[in-house]
C-alpha cells in the first residue's frame, strides 16, 4: 500500500534525554495509525517534528515519497499536515472563525473577510459532522467543541495528514464516540490519521495499525486486528499489566467531608450547583460520576475555596470551612488534583522541584525563617519523582513545561499524595497517563483509603469510577441524583442516573 509519511531513523535529544532514538515510523495513505507508548516515551516529540515545531537532530522525513524539510508549522500546513495538540492552542476571547483563520486571514479590500471564512467553516463543519457554531466565542464552548474547532482548523488549511495528540484525554465518553465517528468520516474523505492515545480500547476500536515506542525507541508496529489490549500493554510497558486492582474491603469510619445544601453560581451567573448534599467518610473512596459540565467544576472549586457558595455549608472534620481561605483548608488536610493541570496544577515556568513545594514551601523543613532550604527541597523532590516515576531530562531541575503531559500529571499527583492528606479531592487523577502509570496511581489511591484517609474522586471515566469507588454519587444538572454502593450497581444503572434518571433507594 502507498506510504504517505515515512520518518526514517529520527533522532531528537533534549538536555539530558534522547526523546526519539533512531525512530522509523511509516504511515500508509488512508489509514488510522495509532502511536502508543508510556508517558515520556517521545510520542509528542516525534509528532512535533513531523509538524515542524522541532527539528530532528538526525534522520529524514519523506512525504508521498519525496524528501521534505519541515522547517516550521507553516511548511507543514503547506504540505498538508495538521495537528491537534495535547494542550489546545486557541485564543479564548476570539470566536471560532477568528481562531480558525488566524494567520491565514482572507483579505478583501484591506479588511479581514470573516463572512466568506464563516461560510466555508459552516460548510466543512457540516460535511464532516462537526456541529460547530462559527460565531461562538471559545471561552463559552465545551472542551469537546474546542477540539472540533482544532479539527476544523486543520481541515480549513486543507490538511490531508491529521495528527491527533491524545484527543480523547479531555473528552466525555459520549464525545469520544462522536470523535470516533468524525474520524471515520475523515478517512472516508481520503484523509490519513495519526492518533496518539493511551486508551487501548480506542486503538482496538478505530486504528488499523499501531506503532509502539518505549524510551524513545520503536518496539514494533502491529496490525490491530492481530493483537489485543493485553498484548499492546505488554509491548508498551515491557511487562504484564494487571488490569485487576487488588482491592480489599473498605472500612469506612467517621465522616470527614460534609457538604450541606450547597448552591453555587457558575461563571455565567446561573446556579451551576443546586442544593447539593453529600458526605465522604474516612477510609472510603467516593466517586462522583456525571457528564462533564453538570456542576462538577463548581462543586470542586467551592470545596477548594476558589468559589464562594451562594448557599449551604461545607464541613471538614466537623469544622465549618465555608468561609476559610484555600490555605487554611489545605492546612486542615485537604489536597486537590485539579481538572486543568496547566491552569491550576503547575507553574510551568518553575522547575519540577519548585512545583513540588507549591503547598509547603512556607514551613519547616522546606524553609526556615523565610529562607528556603534548597538542599532539602532538592532531596524531597528526588524522592517524589522516584516514587511516582516522574521522568524528565534534567530530573528535578527540569522546568515543568519541558515535561511530557503525562509526567506533568504524575508530578501533580505525587505532590498531592505525598502530603498524605486526610481528604484528597481528585479530579480526573489519571488523565493523560499510560496504563502502567494508571495502575500505579490507582494502587496509591486505594492505599490512601486503606490507611484510613478519604478520597473524593471526580471522573468522567465510568470505568475508573466503577473500579475504584466504594460509593458512587451521581450528579446531573447541578443536582445530586443519588448515591449507590459500588458493589450493588453496574454501568447501566450509573449511565441511566447520569442522564438524570432517579433511583428509588438511596444507599
Amino acid at each position: 500500500m502507498e506510504l504517505i509519511v515515512e520518518m526514517n531513523n529520527i533522532r531528537k535529544s533534549f538536555p539530558g534525554v534522547v526523546a526519539c532514538d533512531d525512530i522509523t515510523f511509516k504511515v500508509r495513505k488512508g489509514e488510522i495509525h495509532a502511536l502508543l507508548g508510556e508517558n515520556g516515551a517521545g510520542k509528542s516529540t516525534l509528532m512535533n517534528i513531523l509538524f515542524g515545531l522541532y527539528q530532528q537532530d538526525q534522520g529524514d522525513i519523506l512525504l508521498r515519497g519525496k524528501k521534505v524539510n519541515i522547517a516550521n508549522p507553516n511548511v507543514a500546513n503547506n504540505l498538508g499536515i495538521g495537528m491537534v495538540h495535547q494542550h489546545f492552542k486557541l485564543v479564548h476571547n476570539f470566536t471560532v472563525t477568528e481562531n480558525i483563520i488566524l494567520g491565514i486571514e482572507p483579505i478583501r479590500a484591506l479588511m479581514v473577510d470573516t463572512r466568506s471564512a464563516s461560510a466555508r467553516i459552516e460548510d466543512l463543519s457540516e460535511r464532516y459532522g462537526l456541529n460547530v457554531d462559527p460565531e461562538a466565542k471559545i471561552e463559552d464552548v465545551s472542551v469537546g467543541m474546542q477540539q472540533r474547532v482544532e479539527i476544523l482548523k486543520m481541515l480549513y488549511r486543507d490538511a490531508e495528514i491529521l495528527i491527533f495528540d491524545e484527543p480523547t484525554a479531555v473528552l466525555t465518553p459520549q464525545e469520544v464516540q462522536d470523535l470516533i465517528k468524525i474520524m471515520h468520516n475523515l478517512i472516508e474523505e481520503g484523509k490519513t490519521i495519526i492518533l496518539i492515545t493511551h486508551k487501548l480500547r480506542e486503538i482496538m476500536a478505530v486504528a488499523d495499525r499501531c506503532t509502539v515506542i518505549r524510551w524513545g525507541k520503536v518496539v514494533g508496529t502491529v496490525n490491530v486486528s492481530d493483537t489485543s489490549e493485553e498484548k499492546l500493554a505488554e509491548m508498551m510497558v515491557g511487562r504484564k499489566v494487571l488490569f485487576d486492582l487488588n482491592k480489599i474491603e473498605a472500612h469506612p469510619a467517621e465522616e470527614i467531608l460534609k457538604i450541606e445544601n450547597l448552591s453555587v453560581r457558575n461563571s455565567n451567573g446561573m446556579l451551576g450547583l443546586k442544593n447539593f448534599s453529600l458526605g465522604v467518610r474516612c477510609g472510603e473512596i467516593v466517586g462522583l460520576a456525571g457528564v462533564d459540565g453538570n456542576g462538577q467544576t463548581e462543586l470542586v472549586e467551592t470545596i477548594i475555596g476558589l468559589r464562594k457558595p451562594e448557599n449551604g455549608r461545607i464541613f471538614l472534620k466537623g469544622q465549618d470551612i465555608s468561609s476559610l481561605s484555600t490555605r487554611k483548608r489545605i492546612e486542615t488536610g485537604m489536597a486537590h488534583i485539579p481538572e486543568d493541570r496547566h491552569k491550576h496544577g503547575l507553574i510551568l515556568d518553575y522547575t519540577v522541584q519548585e512545583n513540588l513545594i507549591l503547598k509547603n514551601y512556607y514551613f519547616e523543613p522546606f524553609s526556615r525563617n523565610g529562607l528556603i532550604d534548597w538542599d532539602y527541597v532538592y532531596a524531597h523532590a528526588e524522592k517524589v519523582i522516584n516514587d511516582f516515576d516522574v521522568r524528565s531530562g534534567q530530573g528535578v531541575e527540569a522546568s515543568a513545561r519541558s515535561l511530557s503531559g503525562g509526567n506533568q500529571q504524575k508530578a501533580i499527583v505525587g505532590r498531592e499524595i505525598d502530603g498524605n492528606p486526610n481528604l484528597l479531592v481528585a479530579v480526573q487523577p489519571t488523565r493523560g497517563l499510560d496504563v502502567g502509570a494508571i495502575e500505579y496511581i490507582h494502587q496509591r489511591l486505594l492505599e490512601q483509603r486503606d490507611q484510613g484517609k478519604a478520597v473524593f474522586m471526580i471522573s468522567l471515566e465510568l470505568d475508573e469510577i466503577l473500579d475504584l469507588s466504594d460509593r458512587i454519587a451521581v450528579i446531573y444538572n447541578g443536582e445530586l441524583v443519588g448515591v449507590v454502593n459500588a458493589s450493588e450497581t453496574n454501568e447501566n444503572e450509573i449511565g441511566l442516573m447520569m442522564a438524570g434518571g432517579k433511583r428509588g433507594a438511596v444507599a
Partner: protein
C-alpha cells in the same frame, strides 16, 4: 543582559553616524571615552546610573509578580519629597539624618505604590492605568507643596537647597572621584541589588511573588494569597523607586524642581527590559545607560555627531531588547542552519569516501 540588543543598537547607531556623514569609530570612541575617560567621568557615570538602578529594579520586581509598574516617576517624586522635607526640616547629625531620610523615602514610595496594588487586588483596576494616574497626582502634589512649604530663596519653581548634612554627597567620595556627582546612593544601590537578588532567589517571599507572576490561578489554588502578593509586590516596587527618588533629589541633585516628572522613572522600564528583569542584569544595564548619557556630551563636543544619536542608540537598544526573544530564536536558527550545512557537507564527504557503504 541581552547582549544582542546592545550589539544591534550599536550597529544601528553606527549606521546613523555613517548616514549623517560621520565616522562611527570616532563616534563610539568619544562616546565611551566621554563616559569613562577619567575618574571624574566614571564617577558621573555611576552617579547617573544610580537612580536608574533603583528605577530599573522597581520595574523588574513588579514584573516578577506579573505587574507593569509604570509609576516609577511618581514614586520617585514622593520618595524625593519625603527625603527633601526631612532634610530641610530637621537639624540632626548627618548619619542619623541620612538614615531617617532613606527610611522615609522608602516608606513614602512603598505607600504611594501600594495604592495601585490595592486597587488591582480589590477592584481589578489595571495597574498600568492607575500607576500612570498616580504619576500625575504626585506631579501636582509636588507642584503645590514645594512652593508652599519649601520654597527656594529666589525661584518659585524649585525647593530650597538641602543642607550638606542632608545630602548623600560626602566630601571624601567627591574628592576621591575628583569632584564628580557620585554619592552614597551608589553604594546603597549595590546593597539593594544584593538584597533584591537574595529575596527573589532564596526567600519564601520571592518564591510566592514569582509564583503569582507566572501563574496566579495555580498559585491561588495552592493556597497562596494572590491579592496580598500583588499589594506587597507593588509596595516593594514603590519602595525601590522611592529610594531612587532620594538618591536623585538629595544625592545627584540638591533640590526639587516642580513641573517635572523624572525621566529616570520611565527609563527604568528600559533598564529592566535590557537587564532581563534580573537584579544584576538591571545593575549592568543601568551602568551601560549611564555611560551613554554621560558620554554623549563629550561625543558631541569632539565630533559633529549630534547627541541625539546617543539617545537613538538607547532607543534602538530598547526596541531590540523588547524583541530580543524573537532575535534570539532566529539567531539559533541561523546557527543551526550553518551547523546543518556543515553536517551535511561532512556526511557527503564521508559518503564519498566510503562509497557503497550502508546509508
Amino acid at each position: 543582559m541581552s547582549v544582542f540588543a546592545v550589539i544591534l543598537g550599536l550597529i544601528a547607531g553606527a549606521i546613523l553616524m555613517i548616514a549623517t556623514g560621520n565616522n562611527p569609530l570616532d563616534g563610539f570612541y568619544f562616546l565611551f571615552r566621554g563616559g569613562l575617560m577619567n575618574i571624574e567621568r566614571v564617577g558621573n557615570t555611576l552617579a547617573t546610573a544610580t537612580p536608574l538602578i533603583f528605577a530599573g529594579l522597581s520595574v523588574a520586581f513588579a514584573f516578577k509578580t506579573g505587574l507593569f509598574n509604570i509609576g516609577g516617576a511618581g514614586q520617585m517624586l514622593i520618595g524625593g519629597l519625603c527625603a527633601t522635607a526631612i532634610g530641610l526640616t530637621f537639624d540632626w547629625p548627618k548619619p542619623i539624618l541620612l538614615a531617617v531620610i532613606i527610611i522615609a523615602a522608602l516608606i513614602g514610595g512603598a505607600l504611594w505604590a501600594s495604592l495601585p496594588g490595592l486597587l488591582k487586588a480589590k477592584f481589578n483596576v489595571h495597574e498600568v492605568v492607575s500607576t500612570i494616574m498616580m504619576n500625575w497626582i504626585a506631579y501636582w502634589i509636588i507642584f503645590y507643596i514645594v512652593p508652599q512649604y519649601f520654597k527656594g530663596p529666589f525661584l518659585e519653581t524649585e525647593s530650597q537647597r538641602i543642607p550638606a548634612a542632608a545630602s548623600l554627597k560626602v566630601p571624601w567620595l567627591t574628592s576621591l572621584f575628583s569632584g564628580s556627582f557620585i554619592n552614597l546612593g551608589f553604594f546603597l544601590a549595590i546593597i539593594v541589588v544584593v538584597i533584591s537578588a537574595f529575596i527573589l532567589e532564596r526567600t519564601t517571599l520571592g518564591y510566592e511573588l514569582k509564583a503569582v507572576g507566572y501563574n496566579r490561578d495555580a498559585a491561588g489554588a495552592a493556597g497562596i494569597n494572590v491579592n496580598r502578593n500583588v499589594i506587597l509586590s507593588m509596595a516593594i516596587a514603590g519602595a525601590l523607586a522611592g529610594l531612587g527618588g532620594a538618591t536623585f533629589y538629595v544625592g545627584f541633585a540638591s533640590n526639587m524642581q516642580i513641573g517635572v516628572l523624572p525621566a529616570q522613572g520611565f527609563d527604568g522600564i528600559a533598564v529592566a527590559l535590557l537587564g532581563a528583569n534580573s537584579p544584576w542584569g538591571v545593575f549592568a544595564a543601568a551602568i551601560f545607560f549611564g555611560i551613554l548619557h554621560t558620554g554623549k556630551g563629550f561625543m558631541n563636543a569632539m565630533t559633529a555627531i549630534p547627541p541625539e544619536i546617543a539617545d537613538t542608540i538607547i532607543a534602538t537598544i530598547i526596541y531590540f531588547a523588547a524583541t530580543s526573544v524573537l532575535i534570539e530564536r532566529n539567531w539559533d536558527k541561523l546557527l543551526k542552519f550553518n551547523r546543518d550545512n556543515l553536517l551535511r557537507r561532512k556526511k557527503k564527504e564521508s559518503l564519498e569516501v566510503e562509497a557503497g557503504g550502508d546509508q
